[in-house]
Each structure stands twice: as C-alpha cells, then as structure tokens.
Symmetry: D2
C-alpha cells in the first residue's frame, strides 16, 4: 500500500504537469486508462434501463456518461471524504473523453470500473471502464477530469487532505475489491 | 396458481370494462395499485444514478417513469413470453399515471414492484410501486397501460397466449418472489 | 375574459374539493384537458433530441414527461410570479397522468400547450398537450399536479397571490398567445 | 470556398493518418475545434429542459452530449445525404471528447455549432461548440468521431460520396449560415 500511495503522490509532481483552470489553459494530455479489468480498483454493478437504448437497439453514447458520472459520485459519497453535494467545495467536470469499443444495451447488467489516474493540486483525473458483467475487456473507456472549486466563488481550490487520502485506494496498481478479478 | 389465474381471468370480463384503442376511446378508470409491498409479485432492485436528481436534490418526477418502464420491459424480456423488442407485435404505452408519495434520490438503492392489475383482450394494466430498499410503504405508485399492436400496421392485436399465461405470475394476490416480503 | 377568470376563481372554492397532502389523502379526480389546441393559452416550441427516440423509433413515453415538466417550469420562471428554484416555497409534483395518442419523434419540432385546469389552496392542476408543429389535435395529453410546500419543512403552503394572479392567464377559456390558433 | 473544400479533401489523405477500427487501433489525436463562433458553419438553436439541470443548478455534463449528438444527427438528416436511421450504413460514435468551459442551464436557450474537422475513409471527426444565444465564445467544445459501418455486419465501410459532398459545407473555414455571426 505504501508503494501505491507513493506512486499516486509522484503523479502530483511538476514533471508530469498539472491541470490548469478548465476555462483558460490546457489540460494535461494523458492516455486513456489501461484496457483491462484489473486496472480498476473499484467495481460497481449497474443495471441498464429500457430507455438507455436508442433507435439502433444499443446503448446511446450519451448514456455511457451517466454511468461514469454515477461511478465517480457514488465512490465520493461512499468514501466519506467529501460532503457531496452540500459541502463548501464542489467538483466540477472540466473534461471527459470516452472511447466506445463494443456494444452494450438493455437488459444487460453492467459494471463500471473506477481508478484515479492523476491527482493534482485542485484536480483529479479518473480513469473509468465499462464492462459486461465479469468481462475482462471493457466495452468503453473514459478519462474524466474533476476540478475542485469553492461552492460560492467557483475558483479552483486545493483538494482536501481527506479526499487525497481516500483517493490512494483508487490507484490503478491496487487490486479490485471484488471477487470478479480472479 | 389455478385460483390466481382465475382471478386474473375474471378481470378480463365485460363487467369491469375493456381498454379500447389508445387513440380513440376511453381507457378504463381504475384505482392505483394497493400501497403495500406485498401487492407486488415481482420486485427488482435498481440503483439511482447521479443525474436522476434534479435541482431540488431529489429524484425528478420524470425519472420515476424510467424505473417503471424498465421494470415492465425487464420482466417481459425475462418472461420469455414475447420477443422484445424485435417481434411481430409490440406493446405501446397508452397511458401512465404516477403518484409521488415521498422523496427518493441518489445514492439510494431502490426497488420497483410490479403487478398486473388487469389483462384485457389486447391490453395490460400494470400496477407498479417504487420502494426504498426493504421498505413496506411505497415512495411512488404507478398505473401503466400497454396496448399490443402489430409492429407493421400498429393496429391493436390480441395478447398472445404465452404472454397471457406469463402474466398470471404478476397477479397481485401472489406472494413476491423475493425474501424481502418476510 | 371576465367570465373565464371567474371560472378559475370558482375552481378554488371548497365546493369543488381541495387537493390534500400528496402523501396522505386523495387528489381530486378530474378529466384530462380538452383535446384541442385552443384549450391551451400558452404554447411553447420545443425541438426533439436524437436520444428522445427509443428502440421503436419514436419518442419514448418517459420523455413526454420532460416536455411537460419543462413547459410548466418555463412558464413559472417566465411569469416572474415565483422565485424558481431558489425561493422559500417550491412546487412538488404530486401526480402526473399522461395519455399517449399518436407517435412523435426526432427530428420533429413539437409544441407543448399549457393551461391551468384547477387552482386550489396550495395546489395547481395543469392541463398540457403535446402537438406536432401547428397541429390542431394533440399527440399526447397530460394532467400534472403541483403542490406548494415551504422549502425548509416541506409542508403544504398556500399559493402566493402573485402566482394566483399569473395563473389566470392559463385559464383554458383564454385564447392562445400564438398565431398558430388561427 | 474552393480553398476550403480543398483543405477538407486534403484531410482525407494518408499523410494525416486514418481512423482505424474503434475497437482495435488508435484514433488520430487532434485538437479540439477552435473556440470561436465563426469556426462553426452550422448553428442550431436548442432550448434547455428543466431536467437538464442537476443538483448544482446548472446543466449536468452528461446532457451536453445530448446536444452534440442531436446537432450531428439533425444535420445528417437535414442534409439528405444519408438515410438516418434506417439506411444500409450507420454512423457509430467511436469517441467523444468534451471540454466544459462555463456554466449553462435551464431556462437558457442555447446554440450548438457544428463543423467537420476531418473526413477520413470511413470516419468523420466533427468539431462542436455550445454557445449561449448569440455568444462569441463557447461554453463547451466537443470532438466527436463517427465511424461508418454496414448496418448488418457492423464492419467499417467507406463514406458514401453523397455524404462526403455534403460534409464540405461543414468545413470550419466556411461562414456560418445564420445571421447570428454578424
């Protein structure tokens, strides 16, 4: 665990760059998360809904983002590290990148995998995957950037220590908590 | 099972009226399903999503309908009684009535209860409830009318016998299949 | 116009009954709004979105409720009669009833018609219609019940006079504000 | 105009790389579209809906994708270049990248800007912007990759000439067709 925590800490260093304001500067360009299940320490089960499907009979690309948004926020609330959504600081989504690899759709039961690819001063880059239940290779990958701001003035604010500590559990080097990994 | 099947059959009788074409005539006005968990033979677990919540911090009324629509179609597909959605006949939603009784929202894990209140010649009236996990009293109730039509011409068509048989399992007099009922 | 305003006022009286708490008692059972365009004093244009369509290639029943919810809240905000959503009292949706009469779907441009069927002590029953652009007969009808509560304690609270006055413009006897009525 | 059409044509060449199968290889990494209104030849007006807003009182990041998806498909249908959605080839979304720059939300009336950044052999990269009505700078930018496949086998298939011709109207060098540009 020490080793993993350290790796996360290294990610914050200037050598890898830092996220800047979502409005002004460039966000650091990094790759998508690795396309294997074991790269996601947190796995959440989520059933599809009838209206997730579009006219082509599979899940519409827009809906994937619901799954990823839900996985991040469910983990945040569950971690107890942050008062979501009523607290003094809020995480704004500055950028999302999704790659759609294969088809999913109702009535599938899916799994979202969650990891923290990078922890900056006031931002977190999550890596996410969407899997058919038990599958090793993802149906979609996502890179999701949260920038923390104060709820009142909406200016970037440092990530609280409690959240920083909680995020070490999402280091991609960690084993998933579910038996599904094998 | 015989007794329940019979009760369902009685529901089809002329004394209680019959659903007519959704476009033209009146649909039969019946009450909502009973407001207790044991009135729903089928219980499905469904987690909320982050964007189910609206600006008031609870689940938006529109989203309840996603849960009910999903419960009906998941049961239909699971029953094997009908080829959904690709078959020669499709169920069109002719009417929905929802009553919102108490607040739910992300990150709740919810349960939808499903029953068949009435089986007509070409229509089914489902009774649905939405529950906090394990709760006895519903947070919402719904009356949901499906009219079966041929996929090509969209004219009302009799419910296939396979579906009629499967629907007997949703008679509100049946015990739920889940341990939650106690 | 006087006569219509009066009719609305009469609707508030005890003789026609009052909406009770959405959790406890019964809501008054009334018919759907009239199925003609001229019964809706407010008409709003709203384009469909790609993912409004479901696997059957038409708008999913759940999405109709988005249109109706939007029409009510857009009118409320536009009326200036109420601070939505940040004010001391909020309108909770207690019940919705939708009747689906004919098919709509992307890329249609639709129109929602809005009227106030009944104004009670702390509740409003809106009558809504969804129309193809310029059509005289609706593709769907809706009866939508708002109960006003104080934002803090969520107990029913009387409708403010400002809103009561604004609602007279939605009396179904009024002419629509749009040229579409002819 | 000749010059712009030519630029689009050049983009198809091997020197700039070609999109490969969404499942297997890498997609070409390009920048977001330019952050100014005049870079978008097609502008569509789209009103927000009540439930576009999330618990923070602004439009949820997921919903932006609905706007972009709608803009692309509305243009495709309007162009007449492709039978959407019933034709023999379909555009699958292989990747989306969205950058969220400033807040929007109900009851705003928004505008989506659409351009074609790159036209490959079987893929199109659209550049999109979301604007407050009449604004010069976007509230969000998006890079959206369509890969064309045959509807039956879902293997990549060359873009039809009719679509290739229609796409020249979306070259970012073109002036917008709307008066809004000024």
């Amino acid at each position: 665990m020490r080793r993993n925590a350290q790796r996360l800490r290294l990610n914050r260093g200037p050598a890898r760059g830092r996220l800047r304001s979502p409005a002004g500067g460039e966000t650091q360009v990094e790759n998508y998360p690795e396309a294997k299940r074991s790269a996601f320490p947190e796995i959440q089960t989520i059933p599809t809904r009838w209206n997730d499907n579009d006219i082509y009979g599979h899940m519409n690309n827009v809906v994937y983002a619901e799954y990823f948004d839900t996985a991040v926020n469910r983990w945040l609330i569950g971690s107890g590290a942050l008062d979501v959504p009523g607290g003094p600081i809020v995480g704004l989504v500055a950028e999302t990148r999704c790659k759609f690899l294969s088809s999913v759709g109702f009535p599938d039961i899916l799994e979202t995998g969650l990891s923290a690819l990078h922890v900056g001063n006031s931002s977190v880059i999550y890596g996410l995957g969407l899997f058919h239940a038990g599958a090793e290779t993802p149906a979609a990958l996502c890179r999701y950037v949260h920038v923390y701001v104060d709820a009142a003035g909406r200016r970037p604010t440092p990530i609280p220590e409690s959240l920083r500590r909680a995020l070490t559990a999402l280091d991609p080097g960690f084993a998933p908590r579910t038996p599904a990994r094998g």
